[in-house]
Amino acid sequence: MDQLSLLMDGFTSALTPMHLLFVIIGAALGTAVGVLPGLGSSMAVALLLPITFALDPTAAFIMFAGVYFGGLFGDSTAGILLNTPGQSSAIASTFEGHRMAKDGRAAVALATAAIGAFIGGLIATTLVVFFSPWLVKLATMFGPAEYFALAVFAFLAISSVVSESVIRGLGALFIGVALSLVGIDGPSGTERFTFDVPQLFDGIDIVVITVGLLAVGEVFHVASRIRRDPLTAHAQAGGIARMSLADFRKALPAWLRGTAFGAPFGLIPAGGAEVPTFLAYGTEKRLATRRRDQEFGRTGSIRGLAAPEAAGNATAGTALGTLLALGLPTSATAAILLAAFQQYGMQPGPLLFERSGDLVWTLLASLFIGLVVLLAINLLLAPAWARLLRIPHHYLYAGIIIVAMLGIYAISASIVDLLILAALGFLGFLMRRYSMPIAPLLIGVILGPLAETELRRALAVSEGDPMILVSSPITITVYCFLAIALLITSAQHLRHSRADKQANRTLAN
């Protein structure tokens, strides 16, 4: 098959010292970022975006992919050891993982997490390699109306279906789209919302927005809370991670089940790995009750940890594939990766496979290499990562803000950009303070221009007839799915608020 030979070419290119170096750097950075609670791979990729100006695209994306996956390997470490997941994708792993650690089986837990992440990522990447031609073919059937429908689906799924508060999610989304409108309008050449500030003619730089909201915003948020919430970190590291053959055999089906949950979600804009990891956990829990498993929920069941870990990485693998083949970001981190592509003037999608095929296949080959590297460093260096958790938070966050300032100034040498950075950092703080989700804003900024262009293109073709937006089978399917998802979400929220009111009433009595 064509894919295998392309993949082999990718390997030849990926196994050069330069690219291998970036695999290792990305893997190490990603794991470090994942291990430390309060940082996330989306923040790390955002902070690394300025570097892309100095690197060639292949090396940069290899590093980003390493960071992306590395975050998913490292995030369970703090969760297992400290009951504090490094990222929200590890929450589901923390339930049983920490129980295992308390039961004295931290080494087994860490090994289960690392191997599970490896298996999930491996299977997902293999799926991407073999199915990418189909995805690309599917993408060629997309016209402006279809892309607009997908963008709307991504918007509403991330801002409403999966987020805690629909209204706040929509608010964030719309602010994001509004930010993306600043600058010169592509189709017509009109200046929009630039207030005659020359630096704004090109729009607000996406790097400034992501770094401002994610990195600077986080530092401001931490500043407002650090003296109130003592952020304690007392990790007991216990030797390298290892597991017995019996444990391996117990975990294997759970790993595979987790992967089965995770892989499809990479295709759906559901915001990332949280939904599939929770689904995988729920399934293992149900299976455990049926099996009358004594460990689950008490001393820590290995399956309860294995499945979510595999699910998270499987989602990341297929999400990367969806990004490459369709140009559709399915989570905030994927959206930032999309922005990185755009920085290089590349547009992911069918054309990417045609025009920059060697970059794509080198990237896919390095994913395999990266997974092996990540498995090795997470198994063998587990104590070192645990020690990382002892970095004092004041140094960590001071360092983050330095890197943020540096990144932005280095790419634009513009004080205006630094001021916008600070302002967006404050907005990021406000959003965290008032529970307004940030992912929809990022999706709005990154997909907003695409959505607007496709909408205007579609309407131009149909000469103003809005029905073109719902006339093809693909658009109808997408909108139907969206409607169903919205209905299910509303039902869920209603059910829970009714249950809460009931509980409050009984408690008041």
């Binding site: 690197l55 923390t94 209204i167 600077v216 407002s224 689904l279 360092g399 529970s435």
Partner: protein, 233 residues
Amino acid sequence: MTSENGTTNWRTFVHRRSELIMPLILVVVAAVLGIGSLRMRVLGDTVPGPQFVPLMLAVLILAVAICLTIVVIRQPELPAHELSRLTKAEFSHDMLHDFAELSPAADSTMNTSSAARSRAPATDASPRSSTHSVNAARPSSETDAPSAQQPRFHSDWVTLLGVIAAVLGFIIILNPLGWILSAAALFWVVARLLGSRRPALDIGVALLVSSIVQLTFGGLLGLALPAGFIGGL
């Protein structure tokens, strides 16, 4: 609405609804979009033109702002989920709760909305939920019984404004003083504000960090950083 003191009530009312700044921001954005679109000097003759999406967006944002205002006034502050520290409102707790079939009180790392709402703020069982607030314990000036028990997310404005001032200060001194000194100063101030107890050691750490960053980014990757007056020496 029982109250011993009329002004305390009003102040608490507004305090607990400080989230109203968000709809305010939304309204400002909508206004900028709307006024900007109407005053736009349109070039070309694309149909629909460059004003179409901004105007539509302005209307949508106004709608969201109104809904959010109503939501905030009716229910101040979302319940203090354990999850929210990590997911930060990105993910629906109800949905995740359903998927994972979590029982309300059993798990120590999560609390459901009902458990959180009914918990009195001072007697927090879970070790990681440390968002206590003095104000929430005020007895008679609360309007609705369940939400009176919610802990509030107090922000430490002193530290926050200190960090913001440090950032703005950095922006001002960056060009005259150059990267190494400005970044070191920023690092030192922020570390101090965030709780570092070794100011003398920090000076060394700060200079080290900013020099390393200058070397890696400037030297290895060839990104230009301002040298300030040191560069001229």
